[in-house]
């Protein structure tokens, strides 16, 4: 059964460093998303991506964040200068023609 994959499973970084989180969505899906879950809080929407451009983004997704689909299979989330409050689980999701989104296993980002 096709699934969304994410790498790395755990990323530890120093405050102010850049990180890139990687995702491989399900191959025939058209919509791609990043969500995050800070420990003890809700899963929150960050950004959606369709037809090679951002279609929606939340208030959380400020200028420190960017997304890219560099090669037609990978979907990446870059945080330019990490802050302590960026520590969270980051989930990638993808969707085909229906409304169900399928999530990857997540990347745990720890900012020290």
């Amino acid at each position: 059964e096709p699934e969304v994959t994410q790498t790395p499973s755990h990323q530890v970084t120093q405050m102010g460093q850049e990180v890139i989180l990687r995702c491989v969505p399900i191959s025939n899906h058209l919509y791609f998303y990043w969500y995050r879950q800070i420990l003890g809080q809700k899963v929150e929407f960050l950004v959606s991506f369709y037809n090679n451009e951002i279609s929606e983004k939340s208030e959380i997704f400020d200028d420190q964040f960017s997304v890219e689909r560099p090669d037609g299979s990978n979907f990446t989330l870059k945080i330019r200068s990490t802050k302590l409050e960026d520590s969270a689980m980051y989930f990638c999701a993808s969707r085909g023609g229906w409304n169900e989104q399928f999530f990857g296993p997540g990347t745990r980002l720890t900012v020290l």
Partner: protein
């Protein structure tokens, strides 16, 4: 911002009995609702969904009921099994975000099924 609310943080049920998980929403623009199950250190796994044009959707042991007038939905699991023990998230989407349809999540309910 509490557009999707799951007021019970936890629920314990005996194996073989029915589990009922509840979810309320405030945004009347929501037109599609989903339930996800999540185990620790894993991503949310899609379980079942329902469109606002329906009031019930069934898939095996899982049934979702939607009461639009009350802005309430519930997930029924019958019979409950120990493997169902997980955190269950209610999520909703609306068409106002265009085709993107990002999800708004509730805070989750930890279901424990006791053997």
């Amino acid at each position: 911002d509490q557009q999707v609310k799951q007021n019970s943080p936890s629920l314990s049920v005996q194996e073989g009995r029915i589990s009922i998980l509840n979810c309320d929403y405030t945004n009347s623009m929501f037109d599609y609702f989903l339930w996800y199950k999540k185990y620790p250190a894993e991503g949310p796994t899609f379980l079942i969904s329902i469109s606002s044009i329906k009031d019930k959707n069934e898939d095996g042991r899982f049934t979702v009921f939607l009461n639009k007038s009350a802005k309430h939905l519930s997930l029924h699991i019958v019979p409950s099994q120990p493997g169902d023990s997980a955190v269950y998230f209610c999520a909703a989407s609306d068409s106002s975000s265009g085709s993107a349809r990002q999800l708004t999540f509730g805070s989750g309910t930890q279901l424990t099924v006791l053997p």
